[in-house]
């Protein structure tokens, strides 16, 4: 396959970047999108150029590192697919493909296609966890959980923190991500002790990071590789209202 790539190149966080055009001739349709970029980088290294920086880790669709805006869409045109699981066979021979980093004030570009997702980490640090004493595991089924709740919690827990929701939202809102992280714990008994405190702290941190506000247009839901639903955002609102009106700081 032949490809024309237009890739965002930016030396560092302060530099002004621009789209640079590259030609590739020998791409196998069986390659993943990241492997195609590997081929490009090999070529650039041989030619003495700076290879394109892009995030990746597991390459099996579970870590959320591969974050590229491809052809105007987060993770490319396939639904429920991360970039590492996107294959060149779904592109046309001779196609021109634009590759940009996530664009959000809260997720600033560090270099080329790599953004700093520290904002997500700080939101999790604010309360996206349960505090438990470790020790021997308790008996199975000691905590009865309705199957529907377990399913909803597991669906929310599928979020890999990739940031595609922020990237595709016209307001760069992180509400889908935060709602998934709140929901996975709010639905389970283990999440109850810190439920209200968590909702207040995580939303506060989200606001501090400079994400936008949801306007209910569903771009996040459509682009999320893990099919996180906007019903979670409604749950996030309910959790936040509940916490606001019932939680008392000691």
């Amino acid at each position: 396959m032949k490809l024309t790539l237009k890739i965002w190149r930016q030396k560092n966080a302060q530099a002004k970047g621009k789209l640079v055009t590259y030609q590739l001739d020998d791409i196998s349709p069986d390659m993943s999108f990241l492997e195609m970029l590997d081929v490009l980088n090999q070529k650039l290294i041989i030619e003495g150029d700076d290879p394109v920086a892009f995030d990746n880790d597991c390459r099996e669709g579970i870590c959320g590192m591969c974050s590229l805006y491809i052809g105007g869409r987060a993770h490319g045109h396939e639904t429920e697919t991360t970039v590492c699981q996107l294959h060149m066979r779904s592109f046309d021979d001779g196609q021109t493909v634009t590759i940009e980093p996530w664009r959000a004030k809260a997720l600033p570009v560090i270099k080329d296609l790599v953004v700093d997702r520290g904002a997500f980490d700080r939101i999790i640090q604010a309360g996206g966890f349960v505090s438990t004493k470790t020790g021997a595991p308790q008996d199975a089924n000691a905590l009865p959980i309705p199957k529907q709740d377990a399913d909803k919690a597991m669906d929310a827990a599928a979020c890999i923190g990739c940031g595609a929701c922020v990237a595709s939202c016209k307001n760069a809102s992180a509400m889908l991500f935060v709602s998934a992280k709140i929901s996975q714990l709010a639905l389970l008994p283990q999440g109850q002790p810190e439920r209200d405190k968590r909702a207040l702290a995580m939303v506060h941190q989200m606001d501090m990071e400079g994400f936008g506000n949801c306007t209910n247009e569903g771009e996040c839901e459509a682009e999320c590789p893990k099919a996180i639903k906007m019903t979670n955002i409604a749950r996030l609102f309910r959790e936040y209202y509940r916490a606001t009106f019932t939680y008392e700081e000691q």
């Binding site: 664009r103 004030k105 936008g212 506000n213 771009e219 682009e223 409604a234």
Partner: protein, 227 residues
């Protein structure tokens, strides 16, 4: 009460303010539309209704409340819109929508601004326009009743057309607003959300067509009368 202030300044608190004030105006529009329908009953019925509405003391209180709610809706939307624009300082070179984003849903602030201009114009033209339903004034042949003022205003093609366009814009605004308000209230469930969405679309069509009926009717009836 710091907690309440913090809540109202949070992203979700601001969204709630938008939703609650918005839903208030949704119910107000229904009442307003009901009143308008009296135009098609008779001139007297409509005049009697407008006299009561402009005369009753309780309505003065409601008017103040509405202005306050309207200002909250406008101020909050401006804040949210500024924050949302600031959240993406660098735009994409290429951006394709995959969700349910529409031109109208992405431009609520613009349709809202058009509605704001329209509302000012509307109040100035009718509520504070030159009319009197006072029996004493009736003997004056130049006096216009509310019905007369409405009929006269809409006999002008630009007036009638402007109103029709404005209420259609309002309809598009409401179509996205209605269902979004319920989402913001945290009411999203497979059981009833499809119903809310259908109701929202029906509601916005009824409002847009219902309010367009006045200008269209009066414009064409004076054309007939003239011919």
């Amino acid at each position: 009460m710091l907690w309440l202030w913090n809540f109202l300044r949070s992203s979700i608190g601001k969204k709630l303010l938008m939703a609650l004030t918005g839903l208030f105006f949704c119910s107000f529009l229904l009442v307003h539309l009901g009143g308008n329908m009296l135009m098609f009953v008779s001139a007297d019925a409509f005049n009697a209704y407008t006299s009561i509405m402009s005369g009753a003391q309780v309505n003065k209180v409601l008017e103040v409340l509405m202005v306050v709610l309207f200002l909250i809706h406008i101020y909050t939307s401006a804040t949210l819109t500024i924050e949302n624009r600031a959240a993406r300082p660098v735009k994409y070179a290429m951006d394709v929508s995959a969700g349910k984003r529409t031109f109208m849903s992405s431009n609520m602030f613009i349709t809202g601004s058009i509605i704001l201009i329209f509302v000012v114009f509307h109040l100035w033209g009718f509520k504070y326009g030159e009319w009197s339903n006072d029996p004493a004034a009736m003997s004056d042949p130049n006096n216009l009743t509310m019905f007369g003022l409405v009929a006269k205003s809409f006999s002008n093609v630009f007036y009638a057309l402007g109103y029709t366009v404005a209420v259609i814009v309002l309809g598009f605004h409401l179509n996205h607003a209605f269902q979004s308000a319920f989402q913001t209230l945290g009411l999203n469930h497979n059981k009833y959300t499809p119903l809310i969405q259908k109701l929202g679309t029906l509601y916005s069509i009824v409002i847009a067509l219902g309010f367009a009926l006045g200008p269209v009717y009066f414009y064409f009836s004076q054309l007939n009368a003239g011919a």
